[in-house]
């Protein structure tokens, strides 16, 4: 493993889960290609049978950018985000994996920063954080900010994770590390992101952070339900006793 690192050519596999993101996925792919120029990469779209025709758009994108750069790995129906990553992971050919949302909340212009940080520090995970200098959020109302801050303070007081943004999901992983961490995660939704990073941190993986800005989705609708806070608290307890 160790020698392989320096010799093997680096390739990045970007896993993008989608559900009803026909417009966003096209814009996202354009922006990825615009900002990732000098590296070898592929985009793996895991679409869960979106009724809005996301997959047709992805096929059109394959015509433009090539099927070796855009891979469509669909699933028959909506099976959830966590398993979408696992599904995508089965089809990657790169040795580093980026996970990002399709809804343009995660802007591809930060990808070079993730890559640079990883190369500089040889980190196992580079995670995007909104809560440091240079980062930020746009489009949240007071309630959402309050919930987010409350959740963050609670999680930091109880879990001491050593990472400032626990629920963000814009991250770069070394492939072996992602495989290792994801296999021990069972949560869903926001808690899933938190569980990934807390487990990785407990396992002693080297985690670095880069600032990102987060603009709340412009197109399409949110897929997250109302009982989030309860789920979050349950998840926190779960992490407390299992990690």
């Amino acid at each position: 493993m160790e020698q392989e690192k320096s010799e093997e050519k680096i390739k990045y596999s970007i896993i993008v889960p989608t559900y009803n993101e026909r417009l966003n996925i096209a814009l996202l792919v354009y922006l990825i290609f615009k900002h990732l120029r000098e590296v070898d990469f592929e985009v793996i779209v895991v679409d869960d049978g979106s009724p809005d025709g996301t997959q047709e758009v992805v096929k059109q994108l394959q015509q433009v950018y090539g099927e070796d750069h855009i891979l469509l790995r669909p699933r028959p129906r909506k099976l959830g985000l966590g398993t979408a990553y696992i599904h995508g992971l089965k089809h990657v050919s790169g040795n580093f994996i980026v996970i990002m949302d399709a809804d343009l909340s995660h802007h591809p212009k930060y990808l070079p920063n993730f890559i640079k940080k990883q190369l500089e520090t040889d980190a196992d995970i580079v995670t995007g954080t909104r809560y440091v200098k240079g980062g930020g959020v746009h489009g949240w109302n007071l309630m959402r900010k309050l919930t987010s801050r409350g959740a963050n303070v609670l999680a930091h007081t109880l879990l001491w994770p050593g990472v400032s943004d626990l629920t963000g999901s814009f991250r770069l992983y070394r492939k072996s590390v992602l495989e290792d961490v994801i296999s021990s995660c069972v949560s869903k939704g926001y808690v899933f992101q938190m569980e990934m990073i807390v487990r990785a941190s407990r396992k002693g993986y080297h985690i670095e952070e880069v600032p990102i800005t987060f603009v709340d989705r412009v197109f399409g609708t949110s897929k997250l339900g109302g009982s989030e806070i309860v789920e979050y608290l349950k998840g926190l307890l779960y992490l407390l006793v299992t990690t």
Binding site: L23, Y30, Y131, G135, V241
Partner: protein
């Protein structure tokens, strides 16, 4: 060690210290009895304070939203030319 055990250990250590204070009566007993309440209250205050600070300093980026709008226009132009269906509904 599971994380909850670390926290429990910490709590046990603090309680031991408190009981020690009670037993040795280094400080007046009536005061020592109030310490756990102070502890809980200050923990609560710490939490509220941190949330408050976080809220007032919440980093926002309105400029990024504008930049994103420009990116979207640019992307749509390009993709439209290439025959990708980007008509927003």
């Amino acid at each position: 060690m599971k994380h909850v055990l670390k926290i429990l250990t910490l709590l046990v250590a603090i309680s031991a210290f408190w009981i020690g204070l009670l037993e040795t009566s280094l400080i007046p007993r009536s005061n020592a009895w109030l310490l756990p309440i102070y502890f809980v209250v200050s923990l609560g205050c710490y939490g509220l304070l941190m949330v408050g600070i976080g809220l007032t300093r919440f980093p926002t980026c309105p400029h990024e939203a504008l930049l994103l709008q420009q990116d979207i226009v640019e992307a749509k132009d390009f993709l439209m030319q290439k025959g990708v269906d980007v008509a927003s509904t």
